[in-house]
């Protein structure tokens, strides 16, 4: 059966600007009709959309997004940034460091990287501009640091990986902690080296009085409570990883209204944006599923795996090829679509090479983090730039120095699986 035609059509249509979800669905359906006939294809269209949505595990997607949207609209994140700002602002590059620190905190609260980038861009970029920071540093930092949200638990990326590969979501969450901290450390290193070479891009800010700094800690308590509620809830066994999303959203709502100045109109707005993001994500998942069934019917995936298996490469060589493919795809295609389209192929292959499923989840997530900020399609850069009224090109320029750090961290994670597996092994989650 001819795989080349629908495959080429898919790539061309995506490049020519067809919405990714539609491109996947349409080429998948036409391809399936060519491969197995029209009646069976109608059968695929009958069951696939329904079954994709009717999934209890995936209810975490809208609920974690809702949580992030609620947090981004209340003063919780603002207070978090303010604290980091007061404590770190006076160091050279300190406002950017504060953005990384606050993003790390936000990442422990919420699982959606674009929501993180949007919230932090609105809060911290104006602040950095006020002190004369270069836009490239400001927007680059915010875009990159936003991706921490999918590595540090809770994480939508890890949830989707867990659902697709039947890997324990709790263990994946645990495994993301150390790589997340390592990633944040990478960002800090890049910022420090960057401002050391170019002090002019980050003028020093005055050191606030000690009393003011100490006072800034108190308003952060709602954030701490929420982290305790969600992660504490999961790891104490009170709630399942799936339920944590609902508990987190509910907590964000209550704290937002009670202590975060969340208005009713903002609640409605959060709901609406959650709906938009959810529909957008699921449209892609549905399209990718239809395309996936077409691919499977051609047996191309199986043959590809068999072929890769015969390559005269050691296991790590094959793994590096796969990682490279993820990075290259990440330049052009939506991260979620990549994961859904490729995992059914790469996961069994990587498992057959004897690698750990949890560790591979972390590696895939790391490439996803990178893909979110690489041009030409770098969703986090788009979001950070638009939320701070900056040009997208400026954002991409600002991201470049961080990419070096990203690749170093990726290399470490690949070379030292213990970095990912140590914590889940220790707590045996």
């Amino acid at each position: 059966m001819d795989v080349a035609l629908p495959m080429t059509a898919l790539v061309v249509l995506i490049c020519l600007g067809m919405p990714i979800a539609y491109a996947l669905g349409v080429t998948g359906a036409v391809g399936a009709a060519m491969a197995i006939g029209w009646m069976p294809t109608l059968g695929v269209l009958q069951t696939t959309p329904y079954r994709t949505a009717a999934n209890f595990l995936l209810s975490t997607i809208p609920l974690f997004i809702l949580m992030a949207e609620l947090l981004a609209r209340s003063s919780i994140v603002r207070n978090l940034y303010r604290m980091c700002f007061l404590w770190l602002g006076h160091i050279r590059g300190g406002l950017a460091l504060a953005a990384v620190a606050a993003s790390t905190g936000f990442a422990a609260l919420a699982g959606s990287s674009t929501a993180a980038a949007a919230a932090m861009a609105r809060i911290s970029v104006p602040e950095m501009r006020r002190y004369g920071y270069d836009d490239r540093l400001a927007v680059g930092t915010v875009a990159v640091a936003g991706t921490l949200s999918i590595m540090i638990p809770p994480s939508l990326g890890l949830i989707i990986y867990g659902v697709l590969t039947e890997t324990s979501i709790g263990s994946l969450f645990m495994a993301g902690v150390v790589p997340g901290i390592l990633t944040a450390a990478g960002y800090v290193t890049v910022i420090l080296l960057w401002v050391k070479r170019r002090p002019d891009i980050a003028p020093a800010a005055p050191k606030p009085p000690r009393a003011e700094r100490v006072a800034s800690i108190r308003p952060v308590w709602p954030a701490a409570v929420l982290v305790g509620l969600v992660l504490g809830g999961i790891y104490s066994g009170a709630i399942t990883a799936t339920e944590a999303a609902a508990v987190g959203a509910m907590g964000a709502l209550i704290i937002g209204i009670g202590w975060g100045g969340l208005r009713r109109s903002e609640f409605a707005e959060a709901l609406r944006h959650t709906l938009r993001s959810t529909a957008m994500i699921f449209a892609i998942v549905i399209g990718a599923m239809i395309f996936g069934y077409y691919l499977a019917a051609t047996r191309a995936p199986q043959e590809l795996i068999d072929w890769v298996g015969t390559l005269p490469l050691p296991a790590w060589g094959i793994l590096l090829v796969i990682v490279l493919i993820y990075l290259v795809l990440g330049f052009f295609i939506d991260q979620l679509a990549i994961v859904i389209l490729t995992l059914p192929l790469t996961f069994p292959l990587v498992m057959s090479l004897g690698y750990d499923p949890i560790w591979f989840g972390i590696i895939v997530t790391k490439t996803t983090e990178i893909g979110l900020v690489t041009p030409p399609l770098g969703m986090n850069v788009f979001v950070a730039a638009s939320a701070s009224n900056t040009r997208v090109e400026t954002g991409f320029k600002g991201v470049m120095p961080f990419l070096i750090g990203e690749f170093v961290v990726l290399g470490l994670l690949i070379a030292l699986p213990e970095l990912s597996l140590w914590l889940p092994g220790l707590i045996a989650y």
Binding site: M39, E166, S168, I169, G170, Y293, P301, P344
Partner: protein, 316 residues
């Protein structure tokens, strides 16, 4: 040439026992038909989600598909009979498989499958679901009051409730940590599958002689495809399917032995409920059986007939 190739779709991951069994079945078919009939196997939900595999066979996406009635109880309500707890007194797994095969290829085909355009060619059940716990050894149902048990929904959820325990829905891959963290105190599970999730590392006790239902596995073929097959190949499919059952039974038997040994190593046991206490369990679970019959009879299905036949097949 006159080689017939059938697209076979199932949901087991590639390295799962179920997937190995399918490979084995395909090999038997190829060999015994001298290459006239071949399976082209699509594992791991490649052609359809497990809940949609029945439709995949109906719609012609696949020729043969694995249908798990418990995942699609809305579509195969009568086939969930196997999951009804404590029916009959047969405890030998091989006899249970044989009984279900008889029911499925006969009555269930007639009342449930053929009207939907597919035909059962192979049917089996797993080892009976047992009560497995992390800390407490349960002897009588009243000890289960307020105990949190993972259930996979459907009839199992009703059984858990009938025993006074609290059903908790947890996806199988997350059951291990849920047991460890105490999100649940135990689970209804069957021995061969529990071993697959390494649950013996967290469990300590498992009953041996209860029967919280059996997990039915059914393979259906598109009826149009079936009618086009020559009769000798039709017979061959059914015969080789039964040979696959023997292959699986052997694997399950080995797993059951290691599972019991693992629990003992942890200071626990696979134990029998005392004969004298068995009626206590039967009494608790009677309403689940009665409800099953009443509910589907009420929807105009021949549930009484299926239940009586199943009970007769499972009574020594």
């Amino acid at each position: 040439d006159d080689t017939i190739t059938l697209r076979v779709a199932h949901s087991y991951p590639v390295r799962h026992t179920g997937a190995q069994a399918m490979e084995y079945w395909g090999k038997l078919v190829d060999e015994q038909s001298n290459g006239r009939l071949k399976f082209e196997i699509y594992p791991a939900e490649q052609l359809a989600k497990s809940s949609d595999l029945l439709d995949a066979a109906i719609n012609g996406i696949a020729d043969i598909a694995y249908a798990a009635p418990l995942y699609i109880s809305d579509r195969l309500p009568l086939s969930t009979i196997a999951a009804v707890p404590l029916v009959g007194n047969e405890t030998d797994p091989r006899a249970q498989v044989k009984a279900f095969s008889t029911l499925a290829l006969g009555t269930l085909n007639e009342v449930e499958f053929l009207p939907q355009g597919v035909r059962v060619i192979e049917a089996a059940v797993t080892y009976p679901y047992q009560l497995m716990t992390t800390k407490i050894r349960i002897e009588r149902p009243d000890q289960l009051q307020g105990v949190k048990l993972r259930s996979s929904g459907g009839i199992q959820e009703r059984s858990v409730e009938a025993m006074g325990a609290i059903p908790v829905a947890i996806p199988a891959p997350d059951l291990y940590p849920a047991l460890q963290r105490g999100t649940v105190d135990g689970s209804l599970f069957n021995v061969p599958t529990a071993g697959g999730y390494k649950l013996e590392e967290q469990l300590r006790y498992s009953t041996n002689n209860l029967n919280f239902g059996l997990f039915p596995s059914i393979y259906v073929i598109n009826e149009t495809v079936w009618q086009k097959l020559p009769e000798d190949l039709q017979n061959l499919l059914i015969k080789t399917g039964k040979e696959m059952d023997i292959f699986l039974d052997k694997l399950y038997g080995e797993r059951a032995v290691t599972f019991a040994a693992d629990l003992e190593k942890r200071g626990g046991a696979v134990y029998d409920i005392a004969e004298a206490d068995l009626p206590l369990w039967a009494e608790r679970l009677k309403p689940v059986q009665a409800d099953w019959v009443k509910e589907f009879d009420g929807r105009g299905m021949p549930a009484s007939r299926v239940y009586q036949e199943w009970e007769a097949l499972l009574t020594r």
